[in-house]
Every structure is written in C-alpha cells, then in structure tokens.
C-alpha cells in the first residue's frame, strides 16, 4: 500500500503528499498467504520466435524503497493485531490522498518517430517476428476498412473497427502462446487474426452464412474459435472477466503452461464484473492477464465521466494485483509488457493487470458517429500523428526489414483477398433453418422439436413472409 506520510504535524500540510518515488509503486509482498501450489519452472517455452531471449528478469517488479517517512508520532515497534495481519498504528490522523500527485508513468520503448528511446528494459524482437507483426497490423487496418465499407454498403448489418488499437491487438497476441486462452471483449479481432483465423472466416461470421462457426446466431464481429483458443465474443460488457478467472484457475489445476488472457475497455472497468473478475483472480491465485484498452471513450462517454481514479492501473493494487501502464500505441512496449506479464502469471500463478493507453480513432461502431461528441481535429491528430501502425513501421523500416514495395504489395493483396472473401461469403448458402433450434441445449428438447415442426409448416404455408435461402 503506498502510504504517504507528511513530515509536518499540521493537519493541513499533512494532506500534502511527499513523494520521492517515480517508479512503479509495488511492494514485494513477503507476507503472502501460504500458497496452495508451489511454483514450477517452465520446462519449455513455446514462443513464435525461439531465438529471442530475455534481456531482463521475468519479474520486473519494483521493490518499494522506503518511502514511508517516519513521523515522530509513529511507534512502529508496536503493532496492532487484526484479522488480516499486523498493522502499525499512528496517532496522527492522515487520509490517504485520493490520487498521487504524479500519475503512474507509461512504459514505452519506441518514441513517436519509431526510434528506440534507450537501451532499456524490453524484449528484443527478431526481424521475422517484427515483420509478421507489422504485416498483421496492416492487415487488420485493411480488414477494418473494407468491412466497415461493406456495412456502409448494406452488405453486412454491423461492424466495429479497431482503428488506433492495432498495436494492442497484434503485439499482445504475438506475446502469448497459442495455448493461452483468450476471452475478448469485442475490439480484439487482431488477436484472432494473429492466431490464424482467415479473412474468409472473418467474413463468414460477418455474413452469418453456412460456413460461420457461430451458425449465424450472432451479430457480426462476434467471432469465436475453439481451435484458436478464442472464446466467442458476447455483447455484454465485462462478463468475460470473472470467467477468465475461472479459466485461469482451470489451467492452473491442469498444470498447463498457459494462462487466461482477457481484454476490457476503459468503460468496462466500471462494471461490477471487473471488480468480481480481479478479486476472484487474486484470491484464487489464478494465472490471468487482464489487459485494459484505455482508449479514452466508451461510445460517447469520455473517461473523465467514467472514473475519477488515475486510470485503471491504480486499481490493480486495490485487489493485490501487480499492474503496469503501457503505451498501447507502442507495439514493442505492448509486446514486452504482455510477454512479461504472461510469464509472471504462469510461473507465479497470479493475475497481472496491464493498462494499455491508446485512442479509439474509429467510431464506436457503424451505429455511431463520433463527430457528434468529439472534435474532428482530435480524431485526426490521433489518426495521423499518433498512429501505432506508422510508428512501428518506421522502426521496422529503419532496421531495413520493410520497404515501400513490400507495403504496397501487402496492402493491395490483402485488399484483393478481402474483397474476394466478402464476395464469396455473400454467395455462400445460408444456415439451414434447423440451426435456429440446435444447441440451445446439448440435445433438442421436446418443446423445441414441436416449435420447429410448427415453424416449418408455417414457412411452407406462407413463404412470402420469410426471407429466402434458408433450407428447411
């Protein structure tokens, strides 16, 4: 707990903070409860690029220097014993301030011009990995653009983009292992893209055709793939967080070299399920990485209307969860942070919270026009000057790993592939009508069988009332 003690006994000045620390305020916890499981070493590491090695310790946790200024009133030889352990006491009445005088700083590796800031803590990324990451970020951009246009043309009913958040999507996915189970919110299709979901598969879900794994039951962008360990997206916000705690616990019990990774936006952290998810993960000591995409907006609600804390990173400590704030538009920083967090989660069997700072460049969805509640200049600024894809591109290009030729080749071929995927998805057969009634339960129940019979008879009798193409 970051206790800030004032030097003066004066009550007014006791509310003045006395901060000397600039680093992450984490205290190494020596009095943790007896762990249920012993730590185990990773026997093998499954990463995409085995040639990389760690340049720093996996547990980049700051020990807290003694920033507790001993005041004359404190007698720390005396401790009070309460349920929850011993706690020192003071006869000076001090309120912990509502916020630190300084916000928690943001971890970044690359500056805005794509240059590595200094030889700091980061996990190096090989050419192969970097090029793949960049390609996928660019692919995500193209995919978002084309599907968005397809919705505008009336070809799909709905879409939402991840514009501005490509680095979070791709770099986090790149830092995970394929066995890590992902529970997304809805603005993380890049994670699924990275894992191998094809553009055709994305298109099929958006069109709800016969090839859609979700069988046409949900709106577009509600992707899911058990093959890729990516839980199906559901619209309610933050419901995935306590589920992620359960998934993490299951992986722990199975002694898998894997963790649960779950995403949430800034708005979602106001939901009760955020509290439930973090608290359960902490108490159950479940290997879960919580990644919050703080993009500044929850539809039209700015973060100033969402919470009064210093963002989300400070909330981690309230649950006993190690946390970090990272520049979400810096692919290398996201990669390092997520990879480190994942290691911590798996080897130490604990949850970790990452707050990735970013900006939602696009509208909330195709049902939204964000110029109604924010300045067009603001959007433009983030789109152009703070673009995560361009920033990473500069670094990749500076290394001589990417050229303009590669760029135009990638963009045009991806665009072509997407247009073909959309055309093909549009032409695919629709789901057979029986899929309306399947999977409500494992086996169709009697009432559903009766309703299916009744509906089929009705459709045959009055086909003009119903859309065509659904095989009965």
């Amino acid at each position: 707990m970051a206790m800030l003690f004032a030097r003066s006994r004066n009550l007014v000045s006791s509310l003045r903070q006395n901060l000397g620390l600039s680093a992450i305020l984490i205290k190494r916890n020596h009095s943790s409860p007896r762990p249920v499981f012993t730590n185990y070493q990773l026997s093998s590491r499954v990463f995409l690029d085995p040639s990389t090695s760690f340049r720093h310790e996996s547990t980049a946790v700051e020990t807290q220097p003694d920033l507790v200024q001993q005041s004359d009133h404190e007698d720390d030889a005396q401790e009070l014993d309460f349920p929850g352990g011993k706690v020192g006491y003071t006869s000076e009445m001090k309120f912990i301030p509502e916020s630190s005088s300084r916000r928690i700083p943001c971890y970044r590796v690359l500056n805005e011009h794509g240059k590595i800031i200094s030889d700091r803590d980061f996990i190096p990324v090989s050419e192969k990995l970097a090029v793949r990451m960049y390609e996928q970020m660019a692919t995500l951009q193209v995919m978002d653009h084309i599907f968005y246009e397809a919705q505008r043309q009336g070809r799909i009913s709905f879409y939402l983009t991840s514009v501005g958040e490509e680095a979070i999507n791709i770099a986090s996915a790149a830092a995970l292992s394929p066995e890590d189970v992902v529970l997304p919110q809805y603005r993380e299709p890049g994670v699924l893209l990275w894992r191998g979901f094809t553009l055709e598969e994305f298109a099929n879900q958006c069109f709800g055709n016969k090839a859609d794994y979700g069988k046409g039951r949900q709106m577009p962008i509600h992707y899911g793939s058990n093959q890729h360990n990516y839980f199906t997206v559901s619209s309610p916000i933050a419901t995935q967080l306590p589920q992620a705690a359960g998934v993490g616990y299951a992986l722990k019990m199975e002694k898998k070299n894997a963790c649960a990774v779950t995403f949430i936006g800034d708005g979602g952290t106001s939901e009760g399920d955020f509290h439930a998810g973090l608290n359960f993960a902490a108490v159950m000591e479940a290997p879960v990485v919580f990644i919050c995409r703080n993009n500044g907006w929850a539809i039209s609600t700015h973060i100033s209307e969402q919470f009064r804390s210093d963002g989300i990173v400070v909330k981690g400590q309230a649950y006993g969860i190690r946390s970090i704030r990272v520049d979400g538009n810096d692919a290398l920083a996201v990669y390092s942070a997520v990879r480190s967090a994942r290691e911590m989660a798996v080897t130490e069997q604990r949850p970790v919270l990452i707050e990735a700072m970013t900006y939602r460049v696009g509208h909330h969805s195709t049902s939204d026009d964000s110029t109604k509640y924010r300045e067009a200049d603001e959007i433009q600024y983030w789109k152009m000057s703070r673009n995560p894809v361009n920033r990473f591109k500069k670094w990749v290009e500076d290394n001589g790993w990417w050229s303009e030729e590669d760029e135009s080749k990638l963009r045009s071929s991806t665009r072509k592939q997407l247009l073909q995927a959309i055309q093909a998805a549009e032409k695919w057969e629709k789901q057979p009508l029986t899929e309306l009634f399947n999977d409500v339960y494992d086996v169709k129940t009697k009432n559903l069988e009766e309703q299916e019979v009744g509906l089929k008879a009705l459709v045959e009798k009055q086909p003009q009332d119903y859309p065509t193409g659904f095989h009965i």
Partner: protein, 391 residues
C-alpha cells in the same frame, strides 16, 4: 384443524411415501442399502459422490468450506481438498462467472448461492452468458458442467430476503434447466443428474425441508432423470401440480379432499424447465381439472405457464377453469407469512377442489352420466347447458 395441519406446527410427512398411493419411482430397489437422511444430508451425500466420481469437479461459494450455512457441504473440503472445495469472496456475479469459466474448460462447477434471494447479481451471468454459451458459439464452447444450487422458499421466519421463490425468472430463459426436488431421496438423485447433465442447471433446494424432511435415501450413486414429472399420488377427479416443499402442503389437501370423496392425482413436476407437459396433459385429460400451487407470487408465476399450456392441449377435456393457489402479489412478508402462504386450506377451498364432480351424482343422475360419456367421445357436441349442469 387448519392450524394443526397448517404449515407451521406439523410433523412433515414426505409426499408420496405413504398413504397407500402408488409411487412410480425410479430410484433404488429394495435390496440396496438405505439410510434415513434429511435433505441437507442427502444433498451432502450427492456432492460427495459427484466429487468422488469426477476428479474434475469443484464445489464453491460463500462459506462452503466449513460446511455451509445449511451444512450441505460438510466434509467436502476435508475430503477433497481446498483446491476443489473452497470459499469464494462475497460476490454472486463472480461466483457464477468463475463457475462458467471453469465449466467452459470442461470441468464440473457446482456453485452455491447462499440464498436464492441473492441470486440476482448473477442473473446477467446466468441469462446472458451461461444460457447462451453453447448456442452463440455454434457449439464450439459450452458451460454444461455448471450447476447452481440455491436454497429457496419459505422457512417460517425468513421475510423478504430469506424466503423467495425466484424460479419463474429462470424458467423464461432458453438454454438453462431449472430443477426443484421435493424430498431427500429425490434431491440426491436429481442433484446428481443436474451436475452430470451437459447443460447449465439451476437447482433450487427447499430450505424448509433441509432438516424437516427425513426419508430413506439409498446410499449408492443413483440419478433421477430430468424433465420427467412423477405422479406421486393417483386419482381421478382432479390433477394437482406442484414442486418442492409445496407438495407436502398439497398432499395434505389431497388427504382432506379424499375424506370428502374427491380423488386427487398429485404430480411432482421436478424439472420446471424444460417441463414434462405430457405427464400433466395425460393426467388432466383423465381428470378434467387442474390445480397448480406454488409459493411464488401468483402473477407471472410458473403456474401461469402450466395453465396456459394445459389450456391449449386439454381445453375440451377441462370441466373447470385451471386453479392457481399461490403466494400473494407482495414481497414475502414476515409476520404475515401465514396469510401469504398457499396453505392446504386455500387449496381445499379453491374452486377446482371445492366443487368437483362427486361420485354420488352419477348414481342420482343416470341420464346425465350417459350424456357425459357421450360428450367425452364427441367433444364438439358439448353445450354450455351441459357444462353448467355438471359444475
């Protein structure tokens, strides 16, 4: 008389276990070992068996570690370890959400909500997540291993927040099952079925019966099928449908009615979602009258669904409107509980039971008996005059 047989000072007799009614039971044969157990012990036994037979099963919730506030989880943590049987923070949405996550990974999560009155924070997880988990994913994922147990119903002194019967909310949710046992033997078998059913199940336990109901319960591992109602008392004049603790009340009403020469058929629904329409339909087609009773408030209660369905299926066989003897449309009151509850006397005095077709009428009005049989075979010829006559 009413107070003696009333809810609050009687020795509980488990419905269907005596009084010469033929029990169509699917549980143990006589040679199996049985033990006299109350409801919480039977549930405890079921949980022991569930955890024993599936190493990937878990039991958790508030206070389950020491045995639970109703002792349903006694001995589990000691026997199976704190990794599998553990307390959770006080957070129902977290309990159910965590359970969904565990179940989605192929485990069985038997979660406890301390009182059904506190299930609502988990309603979003149950309705929007658990119920739709399989359907929305195209069967790529499911959380069928999830079972949510919660004590429900009146206990004599529970008031607003320790007496609720929220089953109707959940019966409106495609994708989950709702199961309510009436007795210790039923509870053990139904709970094991619920835990092993590949769909998320909400299992309401009548808390009134935790200690009050004692029954011979087979010691072995047995399951009672879901979505199969049971005729626990056969009769010819009227069908009574209920579940849980209310069946003991209804059985008393049946006994009283028998003294007046009315033969009652009593059905335990057991599973409310999906419910066994066929058994109730067959019974009402035989008797021509239906009375449904539940503690939950009458408006929007599950009795309305049964009534509407039976009306659709048995309209021409019905000799009287379907009766519902239920709780009042108020929050569950404390001092007024005896007035609120659907007691046996309320059942006895309901229109369906109070004016049935009495056997002696047949003897007196021979011609009309003949008309009745004739009308049964030619239902279209029933006239309003005839219906009034036989009311």
């Amino acid at each position: 008389m009413a107070s003696l047989l009333g809810r609050f000072c009687r020795k509980l007799v488990v419905p269907g276990s005596a009084h010469g009614s033929r029990m169509i039971s699917t549980t143990a044969c006589d040679s199996e070992a049985v033990k006299s157990l109350n409801l919480y012990s039977a549930i405890n036994q079921a949980l022991h068996i569930a955890l024993e037979t599936d190493p990937r099963s878990y039991v958790f919730g508030e206070d389950v570690g020491f045995g639970g506030v109703f002792r349903c989880t006694t001995g589990l943590a000691e026997r199976f370890g704190k990794n599998r049987v553990f307390n959770t923070p006080l957070c129902e949405q977290g309990i159910v959400g965590f359970g969904i996550g565990l179940a989605a990974m192929g485990n069985r999560a038997v979660v406890e909500i301390q009182f059904a009155d506190y299930i609502y924070p988990a309603f979003d997880q149950i309705v929007n997540e658990a119920a739709k988990f399989r359907y929305r994913s195209g069967n790529q994922f499911n959380c069928g291993g999830l079972t949510i147990r919660a004590p429900y119903g009146a206990v004599g002194h529970g008031g607003h927040y320790h007496s609720q019967s929220p089953e109707a909310f959940f019966c409106h949710v495609p994708g989950i099952k709702v199961v309510i046992p009436r007795s210790p033997r039923e509870a053990k078998g139904l709970l094991l079925s619920s835990i092993r059913d590949p769909n998320p199940v909400v299992f309401f336990e009548p808390k009134w019966l935790y200690r009050q109901a004692v029954e011979e319960v087979p010691e072995h591992d047995y399951m009672i099928p879901l979505s199969q109602a049971e005729v626990i008392r056969e009769g010819n004049d009227i069908t009574l449908v209920g579940w849980g603790a209310q069946l003991t009340v209804m059985e008393q009403a049946c006994l009283d009615a028998e003294k007046e020469g009315i033969s009652c058929e009593l059905i335990d629904l057991k599973t409310l979602l999906p419910w066994d329409k066929e058994t109730v339909e067959a019974s009402v087609k035989k008797t021509g009258r239906l009375l449904i009773s539940h503690e939950a408030p009458v408006t929007g209660g599950f009795g309305a669904e049964i009534s509407a369905t039976i009306l659709e299926r048995c309209f021409l066989k019905l000799e009287a409107p379907v009766s519902r003897v239920c709780g009042l449309d108020t929050p569950f009151p404390l001092v007024f509980e005896p007035f609120y509850m659907p007691t046996k006397n309320k059942a006895s005095s309901s229109s369906s039971l109070s004016s049935p077709l009495k056997k002696k009428h047949y003897l007196i009005m021979g011609l009309h008996v003949w008309c009745r049989y004739w009308m049964q075979s030619s239902p279209l010829l029933i006239t309003s005059h005839s219906i009034c006559f036989f009311r």
